[in-house]
């Protein structure tokens, strides 16, 4: 079904440099955005996860069968990497040992940067973003992925169609349904109680 991706992988397995460049250019930045949105990790940790994922992908190209888009296959590897990272974070001690003073000597200080926005405005922006993310998390996986590809990765409808193995018309329809479903969830996330009336 994903013939173009299957051919790209074949060319990579044959050692063709241009094929690797196509793969890397199409995957690395999108994968970093994928990790950032799902993990909230710092940039250095995001880079580590992206690197681990891509290394595992290029080592295991033979296992790609063209049953899903190549990027979707890469994101599946990435989900395992993220899960591993979370497991390791849970195992890490929550505080520094007093027996190891060297480990906490001269720590990097926190850098405070003046923001242009007032704290209240900043908090409001965060609140809205969190509402959007919660609404997306409530959607069926296929809808959330379609919206993420279109609005997060900036893919055209044609590219979204290629990603999902659909015609352009079917992709437009998928995006429309996804937006409708998102609107319902987002509206309920954005509900605010503005008054209480007693009906005696």
């Amino acid at each position: 079904m994903y013939e173009a991706d299957r051919v790209l992988v074949s060319r990579m397995r044959a050692g063709e440099q241009r094929a690797f460049d196509e793969f890397f250019n199409a995957s690395a930045s999108r994968l970093a955005a994928f990790v950032s949105r799902r993990s909230g990790l710092d940039p250095a940790s995001v880079e580590d996860i992206v690197q681990n994922t891509l290394i595992k992908a290029v080592r295991n190209l033979a296992s790609y069968r063209g049953e899903a888009a190549l990027f979707t296959w890469v994101t599946e590897i990435c989900r395992h990497e993220l899960a591993d990272a979370r497991r390791k974070a849970v195992r890490r001690p929550a505080h520094d040992s007093l027996d190891e003073p060297d480990a906490v000597a001269f720590p990097v200080p926190q850098l405070w940067v003046p923001e242009h926005r007032e704290p209240a405005a900043e908090a409001e922006v965060h609140r809205r973003q969190e509402a959007v993310i919660r609404a997306l998390n409530d959607l069926p996986e296929r809808y959330a992925r379609a919206l993420e590809a279109k609005y997060g990765d900036g893919l055209s409808v044609k590219e979204v169609a290629a990603l999902f193995g659909l015609t352009t018309v079917a992709a437009q329809s998928l995006l429309a349904r996804a937006r409708d479903a998102f609107r319902d969830r987002w509206n309920s996330e954005s509900e605010v109680v503005v008054g209480v009336r007693r009906d005696d």
Binding site: V58, A103, N187
Partner: protein, 331 residues
């Protein structure tokens, strides 16, 4: 009792939905240096995992060409000078652990005396003093992550570093520190760079530093702090070159070998390490400093401790006054 609810955004059309999605899903793009680092590492793995099959499928002449290239590389390796061009420096002091991630996905824990090479990534769990191949030192605070991107280039992913290259050290390619907001370049200087996900702070203690970013370059001189946000904003203010903020730098000062050297040179070293100029109270004090030859050792002593130890053995004394170390002769 009933609640009356008003649904925010219900009347909005798709543009509002699209705007909300685009805003919430936008992320900071990877910078060019990070992308190049990733490309190099992943490409190494891809070649290692996939290249041999391609050689088999292609003709024998390709195999012969490859063999010739390998032979040429081998000859190049054998005749290569002992000094490795890609070496960045060695670990001179280490108070804690330092993890190194090399190419081909290797990890190890480094020790004092170990050489560090381009392509390696360092995670400092304690303060580290690196002695640079091209001269000078790089001090790294605990919790910092550094990528050695080249013999004269270091990428600070996160953390705090201090570069000290004396004006007397001349190099055709001065060390550059790459950050999220651009490259920090110098010419004979001491400066500190602090980087986190939101901003980069540069404090210049001596000489001049140039920050070359996407929007242009900014030059800062001694006693100046630049604060550059990853969003593009940049501000500048004056800072002291001595005091509490620089204590971590003094604590990582390289050892100074006093044996057989004039006292005046030692005082100059203390001056650079503490960011305070030396002032002689009278001509006699200066003459004494110039003509006194030191013996012994102050290894392992921080600059201020070493100053007290050394002057206690002479007929000189000192006092600190803001940015000055005032040296007197004992009457």
């Amino acid at each position: 009792m009933t609640e009356r609810r008003i649904t925010a955004g219900a009347e909005e059309d798709d543009p509002a939905i699209e705007r909300a999605l685009t805003t919430a899903l936008s992320t900071e793009p990877l910078d060019d240096q990070t992308l190049e680092r990733l490309r190099a590492t992943v490409m190494d793995e891809w070649r290692a995992a996939n290249a041999p099959a391609s050689f088999e499928r292609k003709g024998r002449w390709i195999a012969l060409s490859v063999a010739a290239v390998v032979a040429a590389l081998a000859v190049g390796f054998i005749v290569r000078p002992t000094g490795d061009a890609a070496a960045v420096g060695t670990i001179a002091r280490l108070d804690g652990a330092i993890d190194v991630r090399g190419t081909f996905w290797r990890h190890w824990t480094a020790h004092v005396g170990d050489a560090l090479k381009s392509g390696e990534t360092l995670t400092a769990h304690g303060p580290v003093l690196l002695s640079l191949m091209q001269g000078g030192t790089l001090r790294v605070a605990a919790g910092s992550v550094l990528h050695l991107t080249g013999g004269a280039e270091v990428s600070l992913a996160h953390g705090l570093v201090y570069l000290d290259v004396a004006p007397s050290i001349k190099s055709s390619t001065p060390l550059r520190i790459l950050t999220r907001v651009g490259a920090v370049e110098h010419l004979g200087t001491q400066f500190e760079v602090l980087s986190n996900e939101g901003a980069v702070r540069i404090r210049v203690r001596e000489g001049r530093v140039r920050l070359v970013g996407r929007a242009g370059s900014v030059v800062a001189s001694a006693g100046t702090e630049l604060l550059a946000s990853v969003r593009g904003g940049i501000s500048q203010r004056s800072v002291e070159t001595y005091g509490r903020d620089w204590l971590w730098v003094a604590a990582l000062a390289p050892d100074y070998d006093i044996e057989g050297r004039p006292l005046i040179d030692f005082l100059q070293w203390v001056s650079r390490e503490l960011g305070r100029r030396v002032e002689y109270a009278d001509a006699h004090a200066r003459d004494l400093a110039a003509h006194t030859i030191m013996h012994g050792s102050v290894r392992g002593r921080e600059p201020l401790e070493a100053l007290a130890d050394v002057l206690a053995t002479t007929s000189l004394t000192y006092e600190m006054r803001a940015d000055t170390i005032r040296v007197h002769s004992v009457q």
